[in-house]
């Protein structure tokens, strides 16, 4: 897997890899709430969220539709402003963190610009952030390779399948090498096989680079396989139901899915989800 070797060269060397403890949290939420005022009355999308995410963690948010997973990610990204409580990203407000370009965001939909080719879509953040042309080309090539889209540089988005478009959007978020990745169901539209493959690649990338990942998913096995911690959320109002530690070795492989430890954690997550659902009126 040559692309991983390259990834190693351009990011934090493994010996300097941050450990999951003893460092200031990347994300710290205290009593965080967000209420949307709608025509039909207030919607409590987030309510009393307390969460610390430390450098190098891989945290999955899992929960039924409408429980506020996207909203929480958007608050971290300063795309939405909390109506109560406090939150810091890299020790500063989400607004300041956004201005420092601290995170890469993968949306639930690919959100590629239809008038740009795949290569130019991946280059978009690099253009905005003022990377040189040579640097842009090198990064576009490397990241398209990483998501298995080599050869599609000059295609327009409509010429790619939905899954390929989503992979292009992942390459775009990785292209400027942010330390924090916010991913909203990035693999929701992919088939099982490609999903497994990308899960392994994402895990390897995370292991090698020491990035912090906040990852939204609906899939229990995906959450258990990828995460160091799983945040189970429940709806109305959107809140944290349970936080389940998930300490498999960082260089885990897909085989761990057959182990008893994996199955136990998956069961705990499933149990938590079911309990969360029982609150629903």
């Amino acid at each position: 897997m040559p692309e991983l070797v390259e990834a190693r060269m351009t990011t934090t060397p493994p010996q300097a890899r941050p450990e999951a403890s003893g460092r200031a949290p990347v994300i710290s939420a205290r009593d965080l709430s967000l209420t949307y005022e709608t025509a039909d009355g207030p919607v409590h999308a987030l309510s009393h969220i307390d969460l610390d995410i430390r450098p190098g963690e891989f945290v999955s948010l899992i929960g039924p539709s409408g429980c506020g997973k996207t909203t929480l990610l958007r608050v971290i990204a300063d795309l939405e402003t909390a109506t109560g409580g406090e939150i810091t990203v890299n020790g500063v407000s989400p607004h300041d963190a956004r201005l420092k370009r601290s995170y890469g965001y993968v949306f639930q939909a690919p959100a590629l610009y239809p008038w740009r080719t795949i290569a130019r879509n991946v280059a978009l953040p690099l253009e905005i952030m003022g990377f040189s042309k040579a640097e842009r080309e090198e990064r576009v090539g490397r990241n398209l390779d990483l998501v298995n889209l080599k050869g599609f540089e000059r295609k327009f988005p409509w010429q790619l399948s939905g899954g390929m478009q989503q992979r292009a959007s992942i390459a775009r978020a990785l292209s400027f090498d942010p330390d924090l990745l916010l991913m909203d169901e990035p693999f929701g539209a992919l088939d099982e096989i490609v999903r497994d493959k990308l899960n392994e690649q994402l895990l390897r990338l995370w292991d090698v680079t020491g990035k912090t990942v906040v990852f939204v998913t609906h899939s229990i096995p995906e959450a258990v396989f990828l995460s160091t911690r799983i945040v189970v959320m429940s709806p109305r109002p959107g809140r944290i139901h349970d936080i389940i530690p998930c300490d498999f070795p960082r260089d885990r492989t897909l085989e761990i899915r057959e182990t008893q430890g994996f199955i136990d954690i998956a069961n705990r997550v499933r149990h938590g989800l079911r309990e969360g659902h029982s609150y629903v009126d």
């Binding site: 201005l99 370009r101 965001y105 959100a111 610009y113 978009l124 905005i128 390779d145 080599k150």
Partner: protein
């Protein structure tokens, strides 16, 4: 790692039918049928409208009786008919376009040149003005409420009333020649461009805008990398309307500023001397020029949109 690129089957291009066969199957048949119907109706109308003129012509010439065939033939060959027959207009067009030197004042090519130069100049000015206004309106909230009512009001004033005033005022300021006519053309063509561009610059969806926000892109960067490319299809749609409006504006201005020539001057001279055939020929020539201008814009539209990956 990139086996997928190589092994993914590319959709084979469907076999292309011959250009003419395609045209015939696609659009040509209905177009021909409708055109023939219009020509036929036109002939019926010409006979009906010119019949009593023809009867009095026979009477004045001392002819007491005439056959229907004579009457019909007569209605289609008058020198100053109420409604000229299609072949009379075609003959006049042939005479004034092909048989007359383009430098002559009797040539429609000569007049087309005058009208087109003012139209194109006015269209360019109007489009630039329209785009600038749209950019201002999209970026300065308060301008939408303060500017837009005036822009809309400007288009509610009948141009036939406004054009002579503008031309006369400009003439008194020693602005003559192509500029007053181009000003009227610009006056009519900026409006659709402004409306279309405001819509186009606002067309990015929230997700596309959020993406720019995550990069903490500046307003200028968002404008250049997102709003401008999103607006291009809207721009071309409104340019097509704008270029036709510019031609109308020029012709109306030429009615006032008729000494310089142009289709408007031909229309005026034709109605002054009762030369209906000349009026209709000028009308047709003007319509053909409008079609030509729209075709040029449509061609640019296709090229640009294809290069931007909008068309499949």
């Amino acid at each position: 790692m990139s086996t997928e690129a190589a092994s993914l089957p590319r959709a084979a291009a469907p076999p292309r039918p011959g250009v003419w066969a395609g045209l015939w199957e696609g659009h040509a048949l209905p177009v021909v049928v409708v055109s023939l119907l219009i020509v036929a109706l036109w002939y019926v109308g010409a006979v009906a409208m010119n019949a009593d003129l023809q009867r009095s012509a026979f009477e004045n010439a001392g002819q007491k009786t005439w056959t229907t065939a004579e009457l019909v033939a007569g209605t289609l060959a008058q020198e100053r008919p109420r409604l000229p027959a299609p072949h009379q207009v075609a003959e006049e067009l042939w005479k004034t376009v092909v048989d007359t030197a383009p430098t002559s004042k009797r040539s429609l090519v000569y007049h087309a040149g005058i009208t087109l130069s003012a139209t194109v100049l006015g269209f360019l000015f109007g489009s630039v003005l329209g785009i600038l206004l749209a950019v201002l309106i999209v970026h300065v909230r308060s301008l939408e409420r303060s500017l837009m009512p005036w822009i809309v009001a400007s288009q509610t004033i009948p141009i036939v009333a406004l054009a002579p005033m503008i031309v006369i005022i400009l003439n008194q300021l020693d602005v003559t020649g192509v500029v007053p006519k181009a000003a009227i053309a610009a006056y009519l063509s900026f409006f659709p461009v402004t409306v279309g561009m405001v819509k186009g610059l606002r067309s990015p969806d929230p997700l596309q805008l959020d993406l720019m926000r995550t990069y903490s892109a500046s307003r200028l960067q968002t404008f250049l990398a997102l709003r401008v490319p999103s607006s291009v299809p809207f721009l071309f749609a409104s340019l097509k309307v704008g270029v036709a409006a510019a031609l109308v504006g020029t012709v109306v201005a030429e009615l006032t500023q008729s000494a310089d020539g142009g289709f408007g001057a031909r229309l005026l001279a034709g109605s002054y001397y009762g030369q209906t055939v000349q009026i209709w020929a000028a009308l047709f020539a003007a319509a053909l020029c409008a079609c030509l201008l729209i075709a040029v814009v449509a061609f640019a539209d296709r090229i640009v949109l294809r290069r931007m990956g909008y068309t499949r």
